[in-house]
Symmetry: C2
Subunit: 454 residues, 2 copies
Amino acid sequence: MATSQFELALSTDLYELTMASSYDALGRHGRAVFSLYVRKLPEHRHFLVVAGVNELLERLVALRFDDETRAYLRTLPMLRPDFVDSLASFRFHGDVWAVREGTVIFADEPILEVEAPIDQAQLVETLVLNAIHYPTLVATKAARCRLAAPGKTLVDFGLRRTPSLEAGLAAARAAYLAGFAATSNVLAGARYGIPVSGTVAHSFIESFPSELEAFRAFARTYPGDPILLIDTYDTLRGAEHAVIVARELAAEGRRVRAVRLDSGDLAELSRAVRALLDRSGFPDIQIFASGGLDEYELHALEATGAPIDGYGIGSRLGTSTDAPLADMAYKLVEYDGEPVLKLSTGKRTLVGAKQVWRRIGRDGHYSEDLIALRDEPPPGPDWIPLLRPVMRGGEILERPALPELRAHHQSEIDRLPPWLRVLAPTATYPVRLSDRLRARQLQAEETIRRREGL
Amino acid sequence: MATSQFELALSTDLYELTMASSYDALGRHGRAVFSLYVRKLPEHRHFLVVAGVNELLERLVALRFDDETRAYLRTLPMLRPDFVDSLASFRFHGDVWAVREGTVIFADEPILEVEAPIDQAQLVETLVLNAIHYPTLVATKAARCRLAAPGKTLVDFGLRRTPSLEAGLAAARAAYLAGFAATSNVLAGARYGIPVSGTVAHSFIESFPSELEAFRAFARTYPGDPILLIDTYDTLRGAEHAVIVARELAAEGRRVRAVRLDSGDLAELSRAVRALLDRSGFPDIQIFASGGLDEYELHALEATGAPIDGYGIGSRLGTSTDAPLADMAYKLVEYDGEPVLKLSTGKRTLVGAKQVWRRIGRDGHYSEDLIALRDEPPPGPDWIPLLRPVMRGGEILERPALPELRAHHQSEIDRLPPWLRVLAPTATYPVRLSDRLRARQLQAEETIRRREGL
């Protein structure tokens, strides 16, 4: 949200500051490259959709340590006072390479790389991870919902159970980026121009002496074509009441835009409601469904051919319930021109500044990825690079508009091999390392083992 | 964070505003009671620890619709212009009853109840759910970590993967409320006075020509007793290097406070490291462990008697990974003095303004709960009421300090029956409904069925 300088600067793990304090005392400012990537895709995920890069860049630009912030930091005995003083002139002046938001990525592939003096590149670790981790999980979940219900209108209803208001705003943006049509989150409408949508809750119906009276009262006072929530007491009876109101509105030249189902067997109820609306002469009233939905429910509903026109997806999107956590890491991969890495089983870090190349097959679909050192030439004419310079010397190089990123994401999905455009693919998308990267990796491991006597 | 009036007012689901717009046009301002509760505990949870009430009350007090906000709302065609104008004078002036933060609650028990004109009580639904849902999940997870490692020092490391910076701050507070000792989140230290903790990352070690040099450089520049991260290359070799540095520091009258393990078989490595430190004459150097930990890992480590003094718990706490979502609802239960509810299978709402009574058994432990109508007398002398008035007419009645709430939580845990103080109890804590509540419930259902002709 409107994060103050104090809040932004202090929203960090303490160790980022203790390290910076030591680097400052040691005069250690060698050029470092850090990579952000996921070591392994979360269970139930076969790709990730990157989001949050824009937000990160804005945070990096805004990062300052003002008087109030330094006054607080001076109270922490583990920080050197002269280091805290030096923060007065802090400006992030690193370079950032990143994939575009909306891009599909796989395990081990850098989402972004930060190149800066090590004290700076390290200091922003918490901000980097925090900015990318959650929006990426939500964009990915949203993309999966779209795959499960192609062509249907999907609306983000997540805000009430997102972890904080700030998360709700990020989730609405991520869902829209990944092709959702609208959000219930009014702030997301104001901030990002995302269409907002919503009608009434059960409480509205319950507060009236009867459902029919509630529908009439809402239709009378809503300045448009209302959506009526019909499952408060009995969904089919609710649909009958909606038909009565639709007839009354028709007399005034208005209409009921849709009915919403929020409980019960949505497949069965939607069919019964559709039949009732059709035979009552209202084939144009749409059916909208909500209530604990996610990509699995959508897939099941669509498989039965349920006549549902749109879905509201809420809590399971906003908490990425089946994959709330990705093994995302921000790791030093090069210091002062030398590759570095941690020798730890199961926690591979790919050394050096890198590029991800993606091959477009003859059928127009992505066919394989190659992770290479950044300075390697393109592997061939049908390969495209994913990482682009987005910040240089602390200056943001481009601020793509959200609709543009949304269109980019759509083209990403269109280019995914069809076998990957399902909820549970039976194969893994091929990602290889270039020979030079592999050689550099082995060499770095050997050097470190020898040096540490291991 | 420093949420602006614009952000706070618009961080809502659109339908809260469309309903308020209709209520305004209808002149409908009857007294409503809404209950916040979980319909069913999440899988893997046998109680919840309430958190977020303070934050909610502050949001309610701060809620305004300033000029900028109303200017945006006037662009939304689904809201009546005169309603938007009327928001200029909006102040929340309802009453709130709530359990204290840190209190243990079970399914169906009201966490809080809001009593206000229906337009107001409804309007704040999104804010209420959003303020309580996530902090409650994190506090619950933190309490479980404490049960799994009694007496051990637990530190929140979650910020880097919490869903937003705001969530990170709320998570640090919730974890501290539930008995964590410290956090890595510097802002949580500044804002709430929570002790902050942290040392270095692997990158720090990797950027030096050798691990030993890195340890020495850090020890030289850290203004206190350092914690050394020893698993970058080889944990036992790292422990040997820590011993060398400890000897060097001893000559200056300083010491190594602890070593940290962040990967590998923590049970086995901690034993080997402990033995090495002890036989090298450093029984006082503590062992601190981190890396993908949660209550299950803690329980397993403690079961082996691993000589670990403290744990850093990060991403799994900050995302409540095994239970990221609770079926928490904010439902109208009374309008204009009459009980109301939704007739929907599996979604029971308990009607009317309520109180939760908790019985303290002869052994000093909680033995059972009774959900009753609020105006019922206490069921007996050994029962205590959980819901207390916390806001009246929009004024906050008490602002308990965090240490006080933390002490309250500790007493809650102490009073839990011992069989419930485990990760997977084999029984369910007994929660009953009072006879009057049950009768009122049945009567309300019958009235509605009759009225709706069902």
